[in-house]
């Protein structure tokens, strides 16, 4: 198939395919009149690249997966180099989640402080509180009786 058909079937652009070729990720054969020529195995490589990119992997991260498929493995992540990319990505995600959790805790603490200040500055308003309802707390009546 020609480059336009491949791009359509993989949901990408001919420009992206030429870029992948320039990076050595998706080499194309040429027909006698010089057009790029692709087959189903190229579509498979391309889908592997697109799937990983959708998860947030950079283009270079996809190279071990592509090479794994090219070397005849049934799946792009059947090779040790691909597993190393997965592991590195997980570590990166863990670090990111941890940073976000710190930021979240900080924002929550700021909000809590600000809510107290706002509530207490309402003119004439009572301080915010929760009342202990008897049905919520039946043992209290026994204890006071």
């Amino acid at each position: 198939m020609r480059i336009g058909e491949l791009a359509d079937r993989a949901g990408t652009t001919t420009r992206a395919l030429r870029y992948y070729e320039s990076r050595g990720l998706l080499p194309a054969r040429r027909t006698v009149n010089g057009y790029r020529e692709y087959d189903e195995s190229d579509l498979r490589l391309l889908r592997q690249i697109r799937t990983l990119q959708a998860f947030g992997f950079g283009l270079e991260d996809t190279r071990p997966f592509v090479e794994c498929l090219q070397s005849g493995h049934p799946a792009g992540d059947a090779c040790p180099a691909s597993l190393a990319v997965y592991r590195a990505k997980l570590a990166e995600l863990d670090a990111c989640i941890s940073r976000m959790q710190e930021v979240r805790a900080e924002v929550a603490a700021q909000l809590a402080r600000a809510e107290v200040t706002v509530a207490a500055n309402l003119p004439g308003g009572p301080e915010p509180r929760c009342d202990l309802l008897p049905d919520r707390f039946p043992s209290q009546k026994e204890a006071t009786a």
């Binding site: 805790a105 809590a112 929760c130 202990l132 204890a143 006071t144």
Partner: protein, 111 residues
């Protein structure tokens, strides 16, 4: 900025209240609190921050749901209730969440 929310207040229970609060050598501010009470969560970081700054009294929290005896003994009906204990007796109670500045101002005559 330092966050007080990371340092939870020490908690007491019906079982430890006498030893931790009533028999304390220093005054103790007891925060009667409940996990389901929004204003209690609002005041938690304020009290945690206060606890690191105050040397005139200690601050502890007690969960009213888990400790009905102490809650009933001091007639706590709303949370948060902040009660200052000195020499085994409650000397001042504040009901409702408020900023740190107001807590200190409202406790001033009892300190």
């Amino acid at each position: 900025m330092t966050s007080g929310a990371k340092h939870a207040l020490p908690s007491v229970t019906d079982a430890t209240f006498a030893a931790e609060v009533l028999d304390s050598d220093v005054p103790v501010l007891v925060d009667f609190t409940a996990a389901w009470c929004g204003p209690c969560r609002m005041i938690d970081p304020v009290l945690a921050e206060l606890a690191t700054e105050e040397n005139r009294f200690r601050i502890v929290s007690i969960d009213v749901d888990a400790n009905p005896q102490t809650t009933a003994a001091y007639g706590v009906l709303s949370m948060p209730t902040l009660t200052l204990f000195r020499g085994g007796e409650p000397v001042k109670s504040l009901v409702g969440a408020r900023p740190k500045r107001r807590i200190l101002a409202d406790l001033a005559d009892a300190l």
